[in-house]
């Protein structure tokens, strides 16, 4: 009741504000000002590419949502995973200070397997566990230029694991981040954290920047009101060099490193003889990456991109693990004839994993070397100019773990008027099985078996297969006016070989005393259909006031294979059926900015997590001397639970009100 009234009050307020400001609040002399501006002034003007992006979106035959640097700044959000709450069709659920479950179009899990994430072209999806560790992607949010989120498969371009969605994060060019920036946050739940960045020109045609971020989060609260034991610290250092020696050639070099420690109360067996249950305790993580990219304009109709990166990450504490990835990628885009806009590429990726084997957890052999070679082509064919575009393409991959696969797609877009578009798409995508599903053994927990101790143990199976998706999508976009646009997307997904964990017949070990093992065997014993609709709308009342909103509907119908228990259908109850987002941002004066975001998420029946509404709001004062002061409120409606206890215990996500000081020099 109370929460509903707050959300209702907020909505009413936002509507009241919108009506109070005339729709055409632009000063009449604006075009006169621009006509009289000097070339120097024009060159120095901060330019927004919103209208261009909306236009580009209008002719995109996929469900795309773009988060701009301005959206990030105004959201008051401090953790990258939380940004995706505003994206229709995506579900974000925070479990602990450092663990988020993030997915698109269902199957949400703490290690969501069907969402591919890249940062400046570097995949941060961990193929050994099939998922993204969001606490390791702790980017300086001020460095992000834009985030493009595609719901639905993107496998033709991005390859395997781009099944339910692709997130591409692009950081700003170093030439856009010259000067210094210092940001400090302190308040509820964050005793003190901050960002420091410095950038400048180097040489004749180059720029660099260095960014550092320190994150410090307090423990959350458990469901029973106790200490969540999940405090999190992370230090991140990133750098980027951009060099354009000529109009035709440009180079990018990125170097990054991080180190973090997070508490985890996930229960585990800590010793086998005697069997003792405990918790994971502290998990420390560290890693580094280096990425280089060369882009060359070959002719007026073609260009070439070559990229190489190396990424190393290490987890210490429970289940020590090292992962090293080397990736090479070449892409050539060119036009031929009047109607073809084509692209092809080849890639090679080498993955090396080392996981220390112990009685409690391991993947044998300890050293796992896998590689993947891939090639793709895509052709965008203009069938009728400015009216009908067909895009056809396919990815071809060969992995050392699973052999060859083909992931084709066909997209069609029709633009009946310059303001409307209708698109349909059909694609195939796979989520490759991983070394854990093939060969893991993990003691998950204990139970009382009467005269002895029972142990739940998970076993990977050598024959696990890749999950397969056939997706059918359709969408409609309508730019009603220059200021108001609507985007509707709908999908029907058909999955085969879904990954499952099924209980086997218990048995006794030959040890003394014997233990009762309750085995869980990993396999592919389910299939299913999901379908849903995502609606988003944006209304720019004036250059001062903007509203954004969205609604998502998701239905999941999974089917256990004959002879398999229906427990494998549990992901049905782990993603919300309904989600609503409403956001507004307002420039009160030249000096004040105000924004508010509210999110409604329906219940997760499987975890008995009730529906909740999250409200964020912040106000920024642009103070003199290039400084800014903000008061940011996250989760203003108070504590609630967002996810279940699988595999890590979920704590209550509490209110956090904190202050921010930012200074540019």
């Amino acid at each position: 009741m109370c929460r509903a009234s707050v959300a209702g009050g907020f909505t009413a307020l936002v509507l009241a504000i919108s009506m109070a400001i005339p729709a055409e609040a632009l000063p009449s002399g604006k075009s006169e000002d621009l006509a009289n501006a000097s070339i120097e002034n024009l060159m120095n003007m901060q330019v927004s590419s919103v209208s261009r992006r909306q236009k580009e979106l209008r002719s995109t035959s996929a469900a795309v949502y773009v988060i701009t640097s301005d959206d990030i700044r105004r959201s008051g959000i401090t953790d990258i995973a939380d940004l995706f709450r505003m994206v229709p069709g995506m579900n974000v659920a925070q479990s602990t200070s450092s663990v988020w479950a993030v997915s698109a179009r269902g199957f949400n899990a703490q290690y969501s397997t069907k969402l591919l994430v890249t940062v400046d072209g570097r995949s941060v999806y961990d193929p050994s566990f099939s998922g993204v560790f969001w606490n390791l992607q702790n980017l300086v949010l001020e460095d992000i230029d834009r985030i493009e989120v595609i719901r639905g498969p993107g496998a033709t371009m991005w390859g395997s694991n781009a099944v339910n969605g692709v997130i591409s994060i692009t950081t700003k060019r170093a030439s856009d981040t010259t000067g210094g920036l210092f940001v400090a946050d302190a308040g509820q739940g964050r005793p003190g954290e901050g960002t420091f960045r410095f950038g400048q020109a180097f040489g004749k045609n180059g720029f660099y920047r260095l960014s550092a971020r320190q994150t410090t989060r307090s423990n959350l609260t458990t469901k029973s009101g106790g200490n969540g034991g999940d405090s999190w610290n992370s230090s991140d250092l990133d750098s980027r060099f951009d060099w354009s020696p000529s109009t035709r050639n440009s180079y990018i070099l990125e170097l990054g490193t991080y180190r973090g420690v997070a508490g985890s109360t996930q229960s585990l067996i800590t010793s086998v003889n005697p069997v003792t249950a405990g918790t994971v305790g502290l998990l420390s993580t560290s890693g580094s990456h280096v990425l280089g990219r060369w882009t060359r304009v070959l002719s007026d109709s073609s260009n070439l991109k070559f990229q190489v990166y190396y990424d190393a990450s290490r987890r210490a504490g429970w289940g020590p693990k090292t992962t090293n990835t080397l990736d090479l990628d070449l892409q050539h885009s060119f036009r031929f004839g009047e109607r073809h806009n084509a692209m092809w590429g080849i890639g090679f990726r080498d993955n090396f994993n080392h996981i220390d084997d112990s009685l409690l957890f391991g993947i044998l052999p300890e050293r796992q070397h896998t590689n993947k070679s891939s090639a793709f082509f895509q052709d965008e064919i203009t069938v009728v100019e400015n009216k009908l575009i067909v895009t056809v393409g396919s990815k071809f991959e060969r992995t050392s773990l699973t052999g060859s696969n083909v992931q084709p797609s066909l997209h069609l877009i029709w633009l009946p008027t310059s303001r409307q578009s209708v698109w349909v798409a059909s694609s195939r995508a796979i989520r490759t099985t991983n070394i854990a599903e093939r060969a893991v053994h993990l003691d998950l927990g204990t139970f009382d078996a009467g005269f002895t101790t029972g142990v739940v143990e998970v076993f990977g199976q050598p024959g696990t297969k890749s999950e397969e998706l056939m997706a059918y999508e359709a969408g409609y976009r309508y730019q009603v006016t220059r200021k108001f646009w609507v985007d509707l997307a709908t999908f029907y997904n058909n999955y085969k070989n879904l990954s499952t964990s099924v209980s086997g017949a218990p048995y006794f070990t030959t040890s003394s005393p014997p233990l009762l093992i309750a085995p869980q065997y990993l396999g592919n014993a389910a299939g299913g259909e999901t379908y849903g609709t995502e609606l988003s709308a944006s209304y720019r009342v004036s250059s001062l006031l903007t509203f954004r909103g969205g609604y998502s509907l998701l239905r999941m119908q999974l089917h256990a294979d004959p002879g398999t228990p229906s427990t494998v259908e549990s992901p049905e109850g782990q993603s919300p059926r309904h989600q609503i987002h409403l956001g507004s941002s307002l420039n009160l004066t030249k000096y004040f900015e105000l924004s508010g975001q509210s999110y409604f998420v329906s219940s997760l029946p499987f975890f008995h997590v009730p529906s909740y509404t999250r409200l964020d709001s912040n106000i920024t004062w642009k103070a003199p001397r290039h400084s800014e002061l903000s008061l940011i409120g996250q989760n203003l409606l108070g504590s609630h639970l967002e996810y279940g206890d699988t595999p890590a215990v979920s704590n209550l996500v509490g209110r956090s009100v904190f202050g921010r000081a930012a200074w540019r020099f």
Partner: protein, 185 residues
């Protein structure tokens, strides 16, 4: 209970706070807004007229700025040039479909969405004094004269001096010094 009352309190305080801030903020100040990319690009094109000279400026009739195909400016370029003249000739903004139509224009613009037609436009006006304006390095590589390209959140001017010279269009030293030169390698 404590949590509940906390929620109730927030429920009343927060909207009240927002309304208070709003009330204090009137009158609203419109300055310091980000400009739309194409408003700025339209202003650049209009500004070129002050820094360039066309060989047959004695000619009569309208001074035509033509937009090939896709029009990202919508109405901004028309509003900017409404009632204005260049070299004593009234400025007119014209939308064209066929690159060949550009021969009678003084400025011809091809947006990045018209990549396929851009090369044809450049070929069509070769040997005439039509200033070709595009948005990408590829446009210059094909022989285009000026690219209004985005460099992060700023608009950059890149000038292909060889091409303007060949066409007999004079670019002032000031504009040359502000623009980036086009380097083909």
């Amino acid at each position: 209970m404590a949590i509940l009352s906390g929620i109730k309190k927030t429920g009343r305080v927060l909207p009240a706070l927002l309304v208070a801030i709003l009330a204090l903020s009137i009158p609203v100040d419109y300055a310091a807004q980000e400009q739309d990319e194409y408003e700025v690009k339209a202003a650049f094109i209009f500004n070129f007229l002050k820094f360039m000279e066309w060989p047959q400026t004695g000619a009569s009739g309208n001074f035509e700025i033509c937009i090939l195909g896709d029009d990202p400016f919508e109405k901004t370029l028309d509003q900017l040039t409404k009632g204005k003249s260049a070299f004593g000739r009234p400025i007119q903004v014209r939308r064209i479909k066929d690159p060949v139509e550009a021969r009678s224009c003084q400025i011809a613009f091809a947006s990045s969405a018209e990549r396929a037609k851009a090369a044809k436009l450049i070929d069509a006006v070769r040997g005439t004094a039509v200033l070709t304006v595009g948005e990408t390095p590829e446009f210059l590589h094909a022989g285009g004269m000026i690219a209004l390209s985005m460099d992060g959140s700023h608009v950059n001017i890149v000038i292909n001096a060889n091409a303007t010279q060949t066409a007999g269009i004079k670019v002032s030293a000031k504009l040359m010094s502000l623009a980036k030169p086009y380097k083909s390698d």
